[in-house]
């Protein structure tokens, strides 16, 4: 094979991936704008854009500007965070089923948030920070516990499942002691919801996104090499431990901030990576596409949850119920192809 053919082949692959990623970004934009337009009252695109640009439009400004815009923005950034965090974990642990919401990190954030809200009645910001701290501690504890004579992804996943069970029972216990008026708010922490989104809630997550996602993107090449095993990666000059810590801390922080703002939206972190891989192609740089898929999932699921049924369901229930069959399908497919599990 000549060098030219090689170059051409690779350029074609890269171009295709960029186009698909661009397409995903457009889809996210469409979903975002749709969330702003659709509702009990429909507002046309022109009105919506004028509100975004800062104009005061009678009637629309409140509904679109103060209600829908924060909600859609929250959905966008949390989806982005969940998607990026999920795919980073799955890639690092070389296992599509090793998602941070399965291995207990979301549970840690939820437990802290629930305790902060119900037991100590803390403010929103305080709860976010508490959730972040708890998520980092949980991740650290799981990592340390699993790190016996070397790092083993299998062991980490299993320990994470155990920790998740323990923390989930803690969440259940605290919720069972909750007075009924706390219950509705507390249900959010079991399923994840965009209800009552405010700018003060969106801000921390947005900042986390802006800061951390580029960091993870920068390390994406290292991540690609890490996928070949610690030995290969080390022999290719990757500082394995350091890279791993940066990636884990980055992913956990994204997850914690997002969970603190919206609760653990089920399955988004789980699904985003594999779906992105199917669209953009495997073995490619998945971080950005996964983030976009995550955002798309949350926005679309929230639309469905609000308007598709008689009852209004929080976004977490929709992603849980819709995500479940896909998840099982993924399990069956990856088990059948005998891929590394």
């Amino acid at each position: 094979m000549s060098t030219e053919t090689l170059i051409a082949g690779r350029r074609a692959r890269v171009r295709r991936r960029s186009l698909l990623t661009g397409g995903l970004a457009v889809a996210v934009l469409v979903a975002f704008l749709t969330s702003l337009m659709v509702g009990n009252t429909f507002y046309g695109l022109d009105k919506v854009i004028r509100v975004i640009l800062g104009e005061t439009v009678p009637g629309a400004s409140f509904t679109v500007g103060d209600l829908r815009l924060p909600r859609a923005s929250l959905g966008l950034v949390t989806g982005l965070c969940f998607g990026v965090a999920g795919v980073t974990f799955q890639t690092m642990l070389r296992n599509p089923l090793a998602s941070p919401d399965i291995i207990g990190i979301s549970s840690g954030a939820s437990a802290a948030a629930v305790i902060g809200l119900i037991v100590f009645s803390l403010s929103e910001t305080a709860v976010s920070l508490l959730a972040l701290l708890a998520a980092l501690l949980t991740a650290g504890a799981i990592y340390l516990l699993a790190n016996r004579r070397g790092f083993a992804g299998t062991r980490l996943i299993l320990i994470g499942i155990g920790v998740a069970a323990m923390l989930d029972s803690l969440v259940s216990y605290v919720l069972s002691r909750a007075a009924s008026w706390d219950l509705q708010m507390a249900m959010q922490w079991l399923t994840g919801s965009l209800n009552g989104a405010t700018w003060s809630g969106v801000m921390p997550v947005a900042i986390a996104c802006v800061v951390l996602v580029p960091v993870l993107l920068l390390h994406e090449r290292h991540l690609g090499v890490l996928r070949m095993g610690d030995d290969s990666a080390a022999s290719l000059g990757v500082r394995v431990q350091r890279t791993r810590i940066v990636l884990i801390v980055g992913a956990v922080a994204l997850l914690a901030f997002a969970t603190a703002a919206s609760g653990p939206i089920a399955f988004v972190a789980f699904m985003a990576g594999p779906i992105a891989a199917r669209i953009v192609g495997p073995g490619a740089s998945l971080t950005l596409p996964s983030g976009l898929i995550g955002a798309l999932l949350v926005l679309v699921a929230d639309l469905v949850g609000q308007f598709a049924f008689d009852n209004r369901y929080p976004v977490g229930v929709i992603t849980g119920v819709l995500g479940a069959p896909y998840l099982v399908y993924l399990l069956i497919r990856s088990n059948r192809t005998g891929s590394s599990i």
Partner: protein
């Protein structure tokens, strides 16, 4: 290469005989501990009762407040005993059938299947008869178990512990979402369900106990009679078949027993995790892996564990109670982690 020794040296025979004595001793110890815990459970609680009061209440004298408390606690203790034994038996059987040290009704999503079935029954079919709950829960448990096992055993290596655990976690999450979806708009069902979901033995009555006893007896009998078959299964499918065991049938029958026990226990007390996971490991350390000894010992230990957890739950947060499901999760999870750390990674 493999040297075949023609005779077993006399010292080995003596060792075998001795270990039977050891096992009997442990069995006796277990029973003694259980009896002690029984008394403790009846004595302790939001109000401490003296031993003499306990005995007088057992004797039939129910006049005083203390005696009345005892009378209330006895069915609760009996229920904890039965549920603990059932869960432990179920877990032991599951671990033997799947050859998986990490099998447990909770982790394998079986409890969540039972929960989903009960919720669906209440919400969509207006079920209110406890008898119906039990049947439906068993059905849900069986479905979940079949699902998890099928999904977890596809692919090259068959049902490895990791794949089963992940399948179980995924299916648990799935069923939990479905439960949430069903419950959220139905606030009345939500409140009653919420308490069941945590897993507790409060609200035990003799009526409920008598309801589940036939199921428990059948399930336990199935497990005990499958003990020899499961011993064979432990050698690996190929070897077991070579030794004349019908592998598929043995596995199905044992699994049926395990699912039955788990379904019934979950139906009556809610999903209680980790008992089925941790008890077999502990018991294996003491009495070995022969299921004919392991099963009864697990049952006794499981009963003791749950009664103890219930006592702790009643005493620690006086005057409130912490449900037994929370206690077992808190004690069980560190044990689970310890077990995972002990295993060599290749085995997983």
């Amino acid at each position: 290469m493999i040297g075949v020794q023609p005779t077993v040296p006399p010292s080995d025979v003596a060792r075998l005989r001795r270990s039977t004595a050891v096992r009997l001793t442990w069995l006796a110890v277990g029973l003694a501990v259980l009896a002690l815990l029984f008394v403790l459970s009846v004595a302790f609680g939001t109000r401490v009762v003296s031993i003499s009061d306990v005995f007088s209440a057992l004797g039939g004298d129910t006049s005083g407040i203390a005696e009345a408390a005892v009378v209330k606690r006895i069915p609760r203790t009996v229920l904890a005993l039965l549920v603990g034994a059932a869960l432990a038996l179920s877990g032991t059987t599951m671990q033997a059938v799947t050859r998986n040290p990490l099998a447990d009704p909770g982790i394998l999503g079986v409890s969540s299947g039972a929960a989903l079935a009960v919720v669906a029954g209440i919400a969509f079919f207006g079920m209110s008869d406890p008898h119906a709950y039990i049947w439906v829960a068993i059905g849900g448990a069986a479905l979940a178990a079949a699902f998890v096992y099928t999904v977890g055993s596809l692919g090259r290596d068959g049902a490895t512990p990791l794949k089963l655990a992940l399948a179980g976690a995924a299916i648990s999450a799935t069923f939990s979402s479905l439960v949430s979806a069903i419950l959220l708009p139905r606030v009345d069902v939500l409140t009653t369900f919420r308490f069941w979901q945590i897993g507790g033995v409060g609200g035990a009555t003799w009526e409920r106990i008598s309801l589940i006893i036939p199921f428990l007896v059948v399930g336990a009998a199935i497990c005990f009679f499958s003990a020899r078959g499961m011993n064979m299964l432990a050698l690996g499918d190929d070897l077991a078949a070579g030794l004349g065991e019908n592998v598929l049938r043995a596995r199905l029958i044992s699994a049926a027993g395990a699912v039955l026990l788990c379904g019934v226990a979950t139906a009556i007390a809610g999903p209680i995790g980790f008992v089925g996971l941790v008890v077999p490991h502990l018991c294996r350390l003491l009495v070995g892996t022969d299921l004919r000894w392991l099963l009864p010992f697990s049952a006794i230990t499981g009963a003791a564990l749950l009664v103890a957890a219930d006592v702790v739950g009643r005493v620690v947060a006086r005057p409130q109670e912490i449900e037994v499901g929370i206690i077992t999760a808190f004690i069980g999870a560190p044990f689970f982690i310890w077990i995972v750390r002990r295993q060599r990674v290749r085995e997983l």
